[in-house]
Symmetry: C2
Subunit: 326 residues, 2 copies
C-alpha cells in the first residue's frame, strides 16, 4: 500500500506497524497487547481507535496507563484527532505535529480510514531534510544534502554540484552585459548611470528574494491562506519599501552626479523596480506552487536573470525619457 | 537549575520531569511507577539509569515491556548512552537525536551527572526554530519567525522587518557607485567594462554565498571538523570554479567587445574574484563562529558590500594594467 504514494507525501512516510484497536477494547487488553507485542510496533506513542477502519479516536500511552483496567478505550480516548491526508506534503505532517505537540501523526484516506502513522523519527527527518534541501537550493545546489554535507565528499563532487548554477548565472550575466552594451551612447553621456546600475540591480534582487522566501514559507505553514489578502498586503509593503529606498537614494545620487534630474532617474527606477519585484516574485511563487512546481527549484539564477533584465530595461527607459537622450 | 543555562543551549531546553532509577531497580517496580505516576513525567520515552547521579544506562519503554518482571534494570539497559553536554548548542542535541533515531536526549554535566532530558516536542521545535530563523536571516530579517510568518502580521510590521537590510544594502550600493564613479575615465574609454560589472559582482557574490552556507552547515553538523582539511578542499574547489567561469566568459567577452585583451581582463578578474570570495567567505565564517558570533547574523548586506568593493577594485586594477589606461 505504501509504495503507491508519491515521494514526499505523508503516505510515503508512514509505517503500517502501529497500534489500533476497536472502541470496545479494554485498557487491560491493551496493556497485555503492549507487553506481548511492543517489539512489533514501530510507534507506540499513541493507541489509535478505529471503527470499521475509520479513525474515531486516539489515546496516548500515558492516558492508557492512568485509566482503570476494565474501562473500554472509548472512554479513555479523545475523539478530536489531528490527522493528515495521505497525499498531503510531508512538510504539512511535520508542521501539524509541531503545532499540536504530537509525537506521531496518523495518516488517513479521504474517507478517514486510517492507513498508517508517521512515527517520531520520520517527523524529525522530514524537518531536517526539508530545511537542509532548502538551504542548498538557495545556493543553487540540487543534490541530496547527506552527500554534499559529508566532510569526506571530494572536491570534484562539490565542483560538479556548485558549478551549474554559477554557469547559468554567467549566461544570464552576459545577456545583461549584452543588453547594457546596447545602451553605450546613453552610458557614455552619463557614466554615473553605470555606477548606479549595480545598486539598483542588487536592491531589486534583494526585495524579490525577500518576497519569495516569505510567501514560500507561508505556503508551507498555512496552505489555506487567502492569496488575495496576501497580495494586497505585499503590494502595500512593496510600495513602502520602494518609496523608502527611492527617498534614501535621492540625495546620494544628487550629490554624486550633481543634477536633480539624474537623482530622479535613479529614485524613480528604484521605486518602480522594488514594487514590481516584490509583487512579481510573490505571485510567480504562488503560481509555481499551484502548478505543482517547487518555487525553490525554479528560482535562483533564472529568477535573477529575469529580474535583472527587467530592472535594467526600466532603468534605461526612465533615463532615456527623463534625460532626453537620443 | 534550568534557569542557569544560556538560551539555545541544551541545558535551556531540558525538562526535569523525566524518569530515572538506580541500576538495581526491578522491571516490576518500574512498571508500577509508570502506571501510578505516568502523568507526572514530561517524557517517558526512555528510562534513564543513574548511579549516584551519574548516567550509566538507558532503556526504552519497549525494552522494559518485553523484559521479565523480576529483572533488575541493569540487565535490561544499554550502557552506551548518546548524551549531550548542558552547554552544547541546542542544534547539536537535535542533530544527535536525528542521527541516532532518538525520541529524547539526556543532558549531562561535565561529570556525566544527568541533569535533564530534552523531550521529543522540544527537539522538533529546535529544528523548526533554527531552520526558520536561518531562512529569515538569509533575507536580512532578524526577528522571531512566529511573528513574521503569521498571516495576520500587519504590513507596517513587515516593512519594519524588511527595510533595515535593504537600506544597509543601499548604503553599500552607493559606496560601490561612488567607487565606480571614480573610474570614470577608464569606463568612458571601455564602456564594455561597465557592461560586465554586474556579472562579475553577481558571480563573486554567488560563490561567496555558496561557500558560506556550506561551511556554516558543516559547523552545525560536525563541530569537530578539521579546518585545515576543509580549507584545502575549498581552495581546490574555488580554483576549479574560478577557472571554469573564466574559461566560459572568455569567448563571450571577446565576441561582445571585440578584443582579446578585454576578454583577458574579464576572465582574469572573474578567476581571481571567485577564488578569493570562496576562501574569504569560508574563513570569515569559521572565524566568526570561533569568536561566538553567528555567521548568519553578520553576513548579508555587510559581506555583500565588502565582497563587491574588493571585486570591483580587482576588476579595475586588472583593467588599468592590461588595457594600459591612464
Amino acid at each position: 500500500m505504501i509504495e503507491e504514494f508519491k515521494p514526499r507525501t505523508a503516505g510515503a512516510r508512514m509505517t503500517a506497524r502501529f497500534l489500533a484497536v476497536p472502541p470496545g477494547f479494554t485498557v487491560r487488553g491493551l496493556k497485555d497487547l503492549l507487553y506481548e507485542k511492543a517489539g512489533e510496533f514501530e510507534t507506540i506513542d499513541y493507541v489509535y481507535v478505529t471503527d470499521e477502519g475509520e479513525l474515531v479516536g486516539v489515546a496516548s500511552l500515558k492516558e492508557v496507563f492512568q485509566a482503570e483496567d476494565d474501562m473500554p478505550i472509548r472512554q479513555v480516548m479523545r475523539g478530536q484527532v489531528i490527522e493528515v491526508g495521505a497525499s498531503a506534503h510531508q512538510e504539512r505532517a511535520a508542521y501539524l505535529a509541531l503545532k499540536h505537540g504530537l509525537r506521531a501523526i496518523p495518516v488517513v484516506d479521504c474517507n478517514r480510514v486510517l492507513l498508517g502513522v508517521i512515527p517520531h523519527a520520520a517527523l524529525l527527518e522530514i524537518f531536517h531534510q526539508e530545511s537542509a534541501e532548502d538551504a542548498l537550493k538557495a545556493i543553487g545546489i540540487h543534490h541530496k544534502p547527506r552527500e554534499i554535507e559529508d566532510i569526506k565528499t571530494t572536491g570534484l563532487r562539490l565542483i560538479k554540484a556548485r558549478l551549474p548554477s554559477l554557469l547559468l548565472g554567467l549566461v544570464g550575466g552576459t545577456l545583461v552585459a549584452y543588453l547594457i552594451g546596447g545602451f553605450e551612447i546613453i552610458l557614455k553621456s552619463y557614466i554615473a548611470l553605470a555606477a548606479f546600475l549595480p545598486v539598483i540591480v542588487y536592491l531589486s534582487d534583494a526585495v524579490g528574494t525577500q518576497s519569495q522566501t516569505l510567501v514560500v514559507r507561508m505556503i508551507a505553514l498555512e496552505p489555506e491562506f487567502s492569496v488575495r489578502r496576501y497580495l494586497w498586503r505585499e503590494a502595500k509593503v512593496g510600495l513602502a519599501l520602494g518609496a523608502a529606498c527611492a527617498l534614501a537614494v535621492f540625495p546620494v545620487a544628487w550629490f554624486i552626479q550633481g543634477t536633480v534630474i539624474f537623482a530622479c532617474v535613479v529614485s524613480a527606477s528604484l521605486f518602480i523596480s522594488v514594487i514590481l519585484q516584490s509583487l512579481v516574485s510573490t505571485y510567480a511563487s504562488i503560481l509555481l506552487h499551484d502548478l505543482h512546481f517547487d518555487p525553490g527549484t525554479v528560482s535562483g539564477p533564472v529568477t535573477t536573470i529575469i529580474s535583472d533584465l527587467t530592472t535594467i530595461l526600466i532603468y534605461f527607459a526612465i533615463a532615456v525619457v527623463l534625460l532626453k537622450i537620443v
